[in-house]
C-alpha cells in the first residue's frame, strides 16, 4: 500500500507550490489547484480504507501495516525518530474523516472566501494543515506525532490570524498558539519520561507486548510518590487536553473563532481539536495497562469540561461561540468515553469504540453546523443572534441541513449523533451511574442550547437587514448537502466491525433503557427550547435570566477563566517575573560590570595625580623618598 505516501506528499507539495508561486496565480486557479489535489487525496484515502478493511483479519484483528518508514533523525541506538505511515483501524478512520471534511471545506471556501485578499495564501495554509493533520494520524512513533502535532498547531495559528490586520485575530492566534504550546510542553516531557524508561518511540513496539516487561518494571518506580509511567502518560494527557480544549486549557478555542468560518469548521471543530482524543486512543493500550488512574482523571476532566462548557453555551449570543463551546462539550464526551474504560476487551472497552464513533459522527455534523453558520454569516454579515431571526424563508437549504445537524447533535434517532452518544452513555452508566446521569443531563443541555440557537437563527423576530438575505451559492450549499447526507446515514455504519478496543469484531446493540432515557431527555429539552425561543417575544428566558442573574452573568463571562489567565500572564509573568528579571539584568548584573569599569577608572584618576608634569612636585616627592629611605637605613643600622 505504498501509494498512501502520495496522501501525505500531495498536500505538502501543494503547500510549497501555492506558498511560493501562489501570488502569481489567479484566485480561481489557486483554489482549483488546492481543491483538485485534495480531491485526489480523498479518493486515495477512501481507496486505502476500502483496501484496508477488506483485507483478511489475522486472529480476528486487522493487521497494523507500515507501508513506508524512514529514519529521519537518530538520537541513539534505540531512540530514533522515524517518519512513516502506520495504518491501523483508527488511523484509517481518521484519514477518512480528515480528507472528507477537508475536501468539503476546500470546495466551500471557493465560494465563501471569494474575492478575499490573500486567497492563495489561504489555500496554501489549508494544504499545510491537511498535510500536518494527516501526518499526525498516520505517525508510526510518538515523536512523529509530536512533530506533526506542532505543525498542526502552527497551521492553526496561521489560519486563525489569517486576517492579520485585525487586532482581535492577532490576539486570538497568539493565545491559541501559546496555550497549546504550554500544553505541548507537558506532551514533550511525557515523551522524554516515557522514552527514558521504554527506550523506544515506536508505537508498534510499545503496543505489541514486546515492551511490556520493561514497562512493568518501570511501573514499579515512583517519583514524588506517583508511578513514573503515570507521570509520563499524565503529562501526555496535558498535551492532549491543550489541543482538545479541556478545562482549564480550553480558553483558546472560543477565541479561535476569529479565523475564517471554514477554518473553524475544519480545524476547530472536526479535526485538530480531536487530536487529543486521538492521542489518548492511540496510547490506550498503555493507559489501560499501566496508568488506569490517569484514565479516571481523564474521565473526570472530560465530564467537568463537558458540563461547564454546555452551561456557557446556553447563554452565548455569538453563533460561532455557541458552536465552539458545544465543540468543547462534545470533545468532553469523547474523553469521558475513553476514561470510563476499564479493560481491553470489547465489553469493558466499549467506551473506546464509542469515543471513536462519536469522533467520526461529531466531525461530520459539527463541520456541517459550522459551514451552515458560515453560510448564515455570509448572508447577514454578522455573528450575532440578534441580527438573525426568521431566516428559514430566505435560506431553505441552509435551514434544512442545519436542522438535521441540530437533531443529530441533540441525539434524536435515526440521526448519527444518537447512535454514537448512546454508546457513550451506555459506557458511562456501566462505569458509574453518577457518571451516566451527569452525561445524560449534559446531553439534555446540548439539545437545549442547540435548539435555542436554531430558533434564534431561523425563527423568531426578523431582524432588519440592509438587503434581503439570500441562499448561498452552490459551492457553499453542495458541501452542506453532502455532509447532511453523511449525518443522516452515518449512524448506521457498523462501527464495531471496524474499530474496537481489542480489535475483535463487536456487534453494537442498543441498550433500550439508556436509549429511551436519552431520547426522552433530548425531546424534553427541545420542547423547552421551543417554548422559550420559538416565539417572537422571548419572555421566559429574559425572566429566567433576571431571576438567576448571578449565574447568568457568570456564564456569559465564561466563568471568568479568561480573566484568571489575563491575571496570570500580565500581572504575574509579565509584571512579577519578566520585568524584575530584565531590571535585575540591566542594573545588578550589568551594573556590577559597569561598577568594575568605573571603579577602575576612578582609581586611575586618583593615581593620575602623581603624573602631573610639574618638575617641582617630582623633585619634592624625590626628596621625600630619599629622606624616607635614608631614615629607614639609619633606623635599621
Amino acid at each position: 500500500m505504498e501509494y498512501t505516501l502520495i496522501i501525505l506528499l500531495l498536500p505538502a507539495i501543494m503547500f510549497l507550490f501555492l506558498g511560493l508561486a501562489g501570488h502569481k496565480l489567479k484566485h480561481k486557479v489557486a483554489g482549483l489547484f488546492g481543491t483538485i489535489s485534495l480531491g485526489l487525496v480523498t479518493c486515495l484515502s477512501y481507496f486505502t480504507a476500502w483496501e484496508y478493511f477488506t483485507s483478511p483479519r489475522v486472529n480476528g484483528v486487522f493487521e497494523k501495516i507500515i507501508p513506508f518508514n524512514f529514519e529521519w533523525l537518530s538520537f541513539s541506538e534505540a531512540l530514533h525518530v522515524d517518519i512513516g505511515i502506520l495504518l491501523d483501524p483508527i488511523s484509517v478512520m481518521m484519514l477518512i474523516v480528515i480528507s472528507t471534511v477537508s475536501l468539503m471545506v476546500h470546495i466551500y471556501s471557493l465560494g465563501y472566501m471569494h474575492g478575499e485578499k490573500g486567497f492563495q495564501r489561504y489555500y496554501a495554509f489549508l494544504s499545510l494543515f491537511t498535510f500536518s493533520m494527516l501526518g499526525l494520524v498516520v505517525a508510526t512513533n510518538i515523536f512523529q506525532t509530536y512533530i506533526f502535532w506542532e505543525l498542526v498547531g502552527v497551521s492553526s495559528y496561521l489560519l486563525i490570524g489569517f486576517y492579520y490586520t485585525k487586532p482581535s485575530a492577532i490576539a486570538a492566534s497568539k493565545k491559541a498558539f501559546i496555550v497549546t504550546r504550554f500544553a505541548d510542553l507537558g506532551f514533550l516531557i511525557g515523551i522524554l519520561v516515557l522514552s527514558f524508561y521504554s527506550q523506544t518511540f515506536s508505537f508498534v513496539e510499545l503496543m505489541n507486548g514486546s515492551s511490556d516487561a520493561i514497562l512493568t518494571g518501570a511501573a514499579t518506580q515512583t517519583f514524588l510518590g506517583i508511578g513514573v509511567l503515570s507521570w509520563a502518560l499524565g503529562l501526555m494527557f496535558i498535551g492532549a487536553a491543550g489541543k482538545s480544549a479541556m478545562f482549564p486549557l480550553h480558553i483558546w478555542l472560543p477565541d479561535a473563532m476569529e479565523g475564517p468560518t471554514p477554518v473553524s469548521a475544519l480545524i476547530h471543530a472536526a479535526t485538530m481539536v480531536v487530536a487529543g482524543v486521538y492521542l489518548v486512543a492511540r496510547m490506550f493500550y498503555l493507559y489501560i495497562g499501566f496508568a488506569p488512574g490517569v484514565l479516571e482523571i481523564i474521565a473526570i476532566v472530560g465530564a467537568f469540561t463537558s458540563l461547564f462548557s454546555a452551561i456557557i453555551a446556553c447563554v452565548q449570543t455569538d453563533i460561532k461561540r455557541v458552536l465552539a463551546f458545544s465543540t468543547i462539550s462534545q470533545i468532553g464526551f469523547m474523553m469521558v468515553a475513553l476514561g470510563v474504560c476499564t479493560g481491553m476487551d470489547s465489553h469493558e472497552g466499549l467506551g473506546y469504540m464509542a469515543s471513536m464513533f462519536h469522533l467520526f459522527t461529531h466531525a461530520m455534523f459539527k463541520a456541517l453546523l459550522f459551514l451552515g453558520a458560515g453560510s448564515i454569516i455570509h448572508a447577514v454579515h454578522s455573528n450575532e443572534m440578534k441580527d438573525m431571526g426568521g431566516l428559514r424563508k430566505f435560506m431553505p437549504i441552509t435551514h434544512i441541513t442545519f436542522l438535521i445537524a441540530c437533531l443529530a447533535i441533540a441525539g434524536i434517532p435515526p440521526f448519527s449523533g444518537f447512535f454514537s452518544k448512546d454508546e457513550i452513555l451506555a459506557a458511562a452508566f456501566k462505569f458509574n451511574p453518577a457518571m451516566g446521569w451527569t452525561m445524560t443531563v449534559i446531553a439534555g443541555l446540548t439539545a437545549f442550547y442547540m435548539f435555542r440557537l436554531y430558533f434564534n437563527i431561523f425563527w423568531g423576530k426578523e431582524a432588519k437587514h440592509h438587503h434581503t438575505p439570500h441562499e448561498s451559492p452552490l459551492t457553499i450549499t453542495i458541501p452542506l448537502i453532502i455532509l447532511a447526507i453523511v449525518t443522516i446515514f452515518g449512524g448506521f455504519i457498523p462501527f464495531g466491525h471496524f474499530i474496537t478496543s481489542d480489535g475483535l469484531l463487536y456487534n453494537i446493540h442498543l441498550d433500550p433503557q439508556v436509549a429511551i432515557t436519552s431520547v426522552v431527555v433530548a425531546v424534553l429539552s427541545i420542547a423547552i427550547a421551543t417554548i422559550f425561543y420559538k416565539n417572537k417575544e422571548q419572555k421566559i428566558p429574559a425572566m429566567l435570566g433576571e431571576k438567576l442573574s448571578g449565574l447568568h452573568k457568570a456564564a456569559t463571562k465564561k466563568f471568568y477563566i479568561d480573566e484568571v489567565y489575563q491575571f496570570i500572564t500580565h500581572r504575574i509573568i509579565f509584571a512579577c517575573i519578566s520585568t524584575p528579571i530584565a531590571w535585575f539584568d540591566r542594573h545588578i548584573v550589568d551594573g556590577f560590570m559597569n561598577l568594575m569599569a568605573s571603579s577602575t577608572q576612578s582609581l586611575s584618576y586618583s593615581i593620575r595625580k602623581f603624573q602631573s608634569g610639574h618638575v617641582q612636585q617630582y623633585a619634592f616627592v624625590f626628596l621625600l623618598g630619599i629622606i624616607f629611605i635614608i631614615g629607614l637605613i639609619l633606623l635599621v643600622i
Binding site: F75, F148, L151, I170, R181, L185, F196, T579
Partner: protein, 495 residues
C-alpha cells in the same frame, strides 16, 4: 599544501585585494568573489571529509599537517578538522557570504569596513582549522580586535560605550583563557601545544585541573554568553552594524561553545565531571533567564540578543551533559542558532534601514508594506521557537532527549526546567510578530517604504534555505557530528 590553509589564505588575499581596490564596485567584486570562494571551499571540504569518513578513515582529525612556527616554545601551526569543525566552517562561510550581501549598500568607508570584516573572518576561520592551543588563541584574538573598530566606528546608538564594554569583557575573558591555556600546557608535560597530544597524554594533575578548568571554561563561556558574563551581548549587538552582528552572534559566539568543549572539557575531563554541576546551574539560569528577559524588551535587537543568551546557554548546557546525543545536539544548536540569529540580524538591519526605528511599539503593519521581509521575519521567528521543519527543532529535541537520557536525577530535573524555555520563547516571538509585523500601519511614513532589493533577497533566501535544509534533512549532519563528538565524550565518560 593543505586544503585547510586556503581558509586563511583566501581572507588574506581578500584583504590585499581590498587594500588595492579603488572604488566601491571593486570592493564589492572582491567581497563577492572571496566569500563565494569560501562557500564553495567549505562545501568541497564537507564533501571530501564525508568521503574520507565513508572510506573508513577513523583518525580523530583529518587533513592533518604541522609546521613548526616558533621552535623554542614548540609552537606549531597544526591544522586538522573533525565533523564539528567542518560544520562550523560551513556555518562561518554561509554567514560571511550572506553578511557581504546584507551590507551591500553600506556607504560610509566601505573599503575599510570590509577590510576589518575580512580580518574578523580570518580569525574565525583560523580558529576552527587549527588544533594547537597557542595558534587557536592567536586567531581568537585576531577575531576580537576588529570587532572594537567595527562597532565603534560603523555602529549605531551608544556605539563607543558598547564597543568598549564588549571588548573589555572579552579581553578580560581572554586573560583568563591565556592563563588557562598556559596552565594546561605546562602541567600536561606535553612537548607541543597540540590538543590531540595533550589529550593523548592525559596527565594533567587533578589540582591543576581544578584550577585551570574554571579559568578556561569561563574564558570561553564569556564569549558563549554564560550567565552572569553575558551583559556585553545585548549592548554589543544593539550597537553593531548588521553584518558584524551577524558574524558576531552567528559565528563568534560559537567560538565560546566550541572552545569550552574542545579545550576545557576535552583536556580536563576529571575537573569537568567534578565541577560540571556548577556550570550546569549557571547555564540553566542562562536558558530560562534569557528567555524571560526577552519578553519585556522593546528593541528588536535586544529581543534577539536575549534570545541568543537563552539559546547559547542551551549549547553550554548540552555539552555539560557529557553524552553523545546531547553534545551532538549542542553542535547542531550552534549551527542552527548561528543561522537563525544571522537571519534575524540581517532582517532587523533591513527593517531598521527603512523605518529608522527598532522599537516594536512604533513598528506596526510591516506585512502590508514589505511582505517579503515580513514573511521571512515570521519564518525566522517560527524557526527560533523551534518549529519542526526548521533547524531549531532538530537541535533542541536532540539536546532535550540526550540530556534526559542522563542517569542522574539532578540532570533530568534541570533538563525539564530548561525545556520550559520553549514556551517562553513562543511568548516573546509571537508578541514581537503580533506587534510589529501584523496589524495596521500606524505610521503613514511607512507606506512609502519599498520591499527587499535583490542583494537583500540573496542574503535572506540563502539563510532561510540553510535553516530549512538542516531542519528537513538533519540525519547526515547529525551523523557527521555524532561520530566526531564521540572521542571527546568517551574521554569524559570513562574518567
Amino acid at each position: 599544501m593543505n586544503l585547510l590553509l586556503l581558509f586563511v589564505l583566501i581572507p588574506i588575499l581578500m584583504i590585499f585585494c581590498l587594500w588595492i581596490s579603488r572604488n566601491i564596485n571593486q570592493v564589492r567584486g572582491v567581497m563577492v568573489a572571496g566569500s563565494t570562494a569560501l562557500l564553495i571551499l567549505s562545501g568541497v571540504l564537507t564533501y571530501l571529509y564525508l568521503g574520507a569518513r565513508a572510506d573508513g578513515d577513523t583518525a580523530e582529525m583529518l587533513f592533518r599537517s604541522d609546521w613548526t612556527w616558533y621552535s623554542s616554545l614548540n609552537i606549531k601551526l597544526s591544522l586538522g578538522v573533525d565533523g564539528i569543525s567542518v560544520a562550523m566552517l560551513l556555518l562561518s562561510s554561509v554567514i560571511v557570504f550572506t553578511g557581504t550581501f546584507a551590507s551591500w549598500k553600506l556607504k560610509d568607508q566601505t573599503k575599510d569596513f570590509f577590510l576589518w570584516f575580512c580580518l574578523l573572518s580570518l580569525g574565525v576561520f583560523g580558529f576552527f582549522i587549527t588544533i594547537d592551543l597557542f595558534t587557536m588563541f592567536m586567531f581568537y584574538e585576531i577575531a576580537l580586535i576588529p570587532m572594537y573598530l567595527l562597532i565603534g566606528h560603523w555602529g549605531s546608538g551608544r556605539k563607543e560605550y558598547s564597543a568598549m564594554k564588549l571588548t573589555l569583557m572579552l579581553m578580560g575573558a581572554s586573560a583568563l583563557l591565556l592563563a588557562g591555556i598556559l596552565g594546561i600546557y605546562f602541567s600536561s608535560g606535553a612537548t607541543t601545544m597540540n590538543i590531540l597530544e595533550i589529550a593523548q597524554l592525559h596527565n594533567i594533575p587533578m589540582n591543576a585541573q581544578l584550577l585551570f578548568f574554571p579559568l578556561t571554561f569561563v574564558g570561553f563561556g564569556v564569549l558563549g554568553a554564560l550567565f552572569p558574563f553575558h551583559t556585553w551581548s545585548p549592548d554589543g549587538h544593539a550597537s553593531a552594524p548588521t553584518a558584524v552582528s551577524m558574524l558576531h552572534a552567528g559565528v563568534l559566539m560559537k567560538l565560546g561553545g566550541y572552545g569550552c568543549f574542545r579545550i576545557a572539557m576535552y583536556l580536563m575531563p576529571e575537573a569537568a565531571n567534578e565541577l560540571g554541576w556548577i556550570f550546569l546551574i549557571l547555564t540553566t539560569i542562562s536558558v530560562v533567564y534569557g528567555a524571560y528577559s526577552a519578553i519585556v524588551q522593546t528593541d528588536l535587537k535586544y529581543i534577539n540578543a536575549y534570545s541568543s543568551v537563552s539559546h547559547c546557554g542551551l549549547v553550554l548546557f548540552a555539552i555539560l551533559m557529557t553524552n553523545q546525543t546531547a553534545t551532538t545536539g549542542a553542535v547542531i544548536q550552534m549551527l542552527s542558532h548561528g543561522l537563525m540569529t544571522a537571519l534575524f540580524f540581517a532582517l532587523i538591519g533591513m527593517i531598521y534601514g527603512r523605518t529608522h526605528t527598532r522599537d516594536i511599539r512604533e513598528l506596526a503593519g510591516l506585512m502590508k508594506v514589505m511582505p517579503f521581509l515580513s514573511v521571512c521575519y515570521v519564518i525566522a521567528g517560527l524557526a527560533n521557537l523551534g518549529l519542526p521543519g526548521f533547524s531549531g527543532f532538530v537541535a533542541e529535541m536532540t539536546i532535550f532527549v540526550g540530556s534526559f537520557e542522563h542517569v542522574d536525577l539532578f540532570h533530568r530535573v534541570i533538563t525539564i526546567i530548561a525545556t520550559s524555555s520553549i514556551v517562553i520563547t513562543a511568548v516573546y516571538i509571537l508578541r514581537l510578530v503580533g506587534r510589529s509585523i501584523y496589524g495596521e500601519v500606524k505610521n503613514p511614513e511607512f507606506l512609502k517604504l519599498k520591499d527587499a532589493t535583490w542583494d537583500e533577497r540573496v542574503s535572506v533566501i540563502v539563510l532561510v534555505i540553510s535553516i530549512a535544509a538542516l531542519g528537513i534533512l538533519p540525519l547526515w549532519m547529525n551523523n557527521m557530528i555524532g561520530d566526531s563528538v564521540l572521542p571527546i565524550v568517551n574521554t569524559l565518560v570513562s574518567r
